[in-house]
Symmetry: C2
Subunit: 372 residues, 2 copies
């Protein structure tokens, strides 16, 4: 299917940075959490990839909405929602927490931020965790308040991001470790800045509170970024797939459990009570029959993966589907993500990928993230 015009309305929300992305030549959007996410700028994805690998970029990722949980039972509620233990989580920490339903199906794979002792932000991928959280909280009678706050993440990504951020917020930026955050002043207001981001480069995410001053923040970063060769960008598909970063709704859905998504290492199944515990225990005993894998496959750059590409074994059994794919100019082959049947999921196994032009391409299972 070809691409088409996106009709805009209040329902598809703009961000504090949409006008700035426009100014810098955004040419395509997608919709995440009913909010615009820039998907293409003037540069090709490949040019953009090389730029991201050696410079610094500014990305409007406001669609990473926050679900804010405050109140005396905030921690209790958050802990009930994830099989990952948050017992030792400290204020200032970010934690990747799979959220699952009663069948151990993935609800979302957000980053959890502990803002204060009784205040958490769940920074979500594309599903309404706000409604899920509110629904769960209702009958447990938890003393919590659950809202979507006016927080709009803006990402600064790339190897020069530390120098750029230091030039604006000072030397203290250097002390933020990966998946930690600090508080920094901007226009006399404290802002959460984390070392994190949806790329395999170094980078930061500013969880910008407020809406009105958004363009001022963008302009400040842009101005300071000029000497670091900054450009306006967005999550880069080549970089994301190479890093093995999955996309909820694309690479996995509520039909998948965390083991299938390679998230077993984030589960503390025995440490506490949580939704989906018995289902998860059952899966651990029965085992899974498919799991996320990296695939490298041949020939000229594959078409856009807007529909999954079927994956076959050498004896023509359907064994998976590639849900994210692109040509990697570094590996000089196509790369993709696919759940693969157990019998075929070992590294080095050969398989066949069918792309929409009707081509059957030879592929091989690789490790995730993709080899350097």
């Amino acid at each position: 299917m070809s691409s088409h015009d996106l009709s805009l309305s209040r329902r598809i929300r703009q961000t504090p940075f949409t006008n700035k992305a426009e100014e810098h030549g955004v040419s395509g959007f997608t919709v995440v959490n009913r909010m615009l996410l820039p998907k293409a700028f003037k540069k090709s994805i490949e040019e953009d990839y090389w730029h991201l690998n050696s410079n610094v970029q500014i990305w409007d990722v406001s669609c990473q909405r926050q679900v804010q949980i405050t109140g005396p039972d905030a921690e209790k509620l958050v802990q009930l929602m994830t099989p990952r233990s948050i017992k030792n989580m400290k204020v200032g920490k970010c934690l990747y927490v799979p959220l699952i339903d009663e069948n151990a199906g993935m609800i979302n794979d957000p980053v959890l931020l502990k803002i204060e002792n009784n205040k958490f932000w769940i920074s979500i991928a594309d599903s309404d965790v706000l409604l899920w959280t509110k629904g769960v909280a209702i009958s447990y009678n938890f003393k919590v308040n659950i809202i979507e706050p006016e927080v709009y993440p803006l990402a600064v990504q790339g190897p020069k991001s530390e120098e750029l951020m230091v030039s604006i917020f000072g030397e203290k930026i250097r002390s933020i470790k990966f998946f930690n955050f600090g508080l920094f002043n901007f226009l006399e207001k404290k802002q959460v800045i984390a070392r994190s981001g949806y790329s395999k480069q170094d980078g930061f995410e500013i969880y910008f509170e407020g809406y009105e001053a958004g363009e001022k923040l963008w302009d400040t970063i842009w101005k300071a970024g000029k000497k670091f060769n900054i450009s306006a960008g967005c999550p880069n598909l080549i970089d994301r797939i190479e890093a093995g970063l999955m996309s909820y709704g694309n690479d996995f859905t509520i039909e998948n459990n965390p083991y299938e998504c390679n998230l077993g290492k984030y589960l503390n199944e025995t440490s506490h009570n949580f939704i989906g515990k018995s289902a998860l225990e059952k899966i651990k005993i029965d085992n899974i029959n498919k799991q996320m894998r990296g695939i490298i496959f041949d020939e000229n750059p594959c078409p856009t993966c807007s529909h999954p590409f079927p994956v076959y074994s050498e004896n023509n059994e359907k064994i998976g589907q590639v849900t994210s794919a692109i040509y990697s100019p570094r590996i000089k082959k196509n790369i993709g993500l696919s759940m693969i049947s157990k019998k075929y999921w070992n590294k080095g196994n050969k398989l066949i990928i069918e792309t929409p032009e009707g081509k059957r391409r030879n592929g091989v299972i690789t490790s995730l993230p993709f080899p350097e």
Copy 2:
């Protein structure tokens, strides 16, 4: 903001009818419930409006996803989720049911279908009612099964829709009353067909179960529709606003309660227990200070309302914002929907609407639906 290319992916789901909509010249989409909804075809919205008013159209409204609730506690759960009583609801009935949260904020305004005694479909507007329902069910320990079934609504709308549907499904179609449904065979499978739709014309919605045979259904309707001058369309903005049909996310959100949305007549606050009951009772006593109104306003056709238009009183007080608007070729003025402050909401009151070109236009409050 100008419109832009929509980047497609598995996350933004296609429907069984997307290829058919493409074949018939769809030129723009929006995203509802993470699924494509056609928004524009070759014809202008005005041409489309006149066609809809005197012929028949086929619309891909698969994005009206179903939340299916089955099991011995299905009715109990549904009743807990809405202030509208479903006590006397019979199998075969559709019911417009506001869903509210614990603060009486609108979660969604779906149509509820009672498929069997222990089987309901909630046919939703744009918010994840699936996750809300699952969350609520978990904590109450209800014996229910909640899924999003493989059901893809296809609408047949317009004054000639009954004749067209009779020519395919037989005379029994005529006996379906407004907001009721019957079961009809298509390719030896029973399908739910309701007399309903997101227009003020007569029409039907086929809750098509399955995916594969979708194109066959479209082709059958298309072929039979030729003698009724059928065309491929989508919810028409002129028709929708004239009918006073609101759009969740555009005209109201979780920040609004049902009274503000003119939905008071659908509430049976005292008949049963439901989420948000005490909040709703408090609102009834304290009263509301704004409510949805129709506005007719002057001059040449207004621009697309992708951002709300501010509304002012004659003494320049901000009293609302138009969230849906378009020029009506029948009324020969612009028409819009806006929540309006109590002091100014009476029919006939004059007000000023500011449109993005910087124009201040004279307007007046009217009844909803807009006068014939």
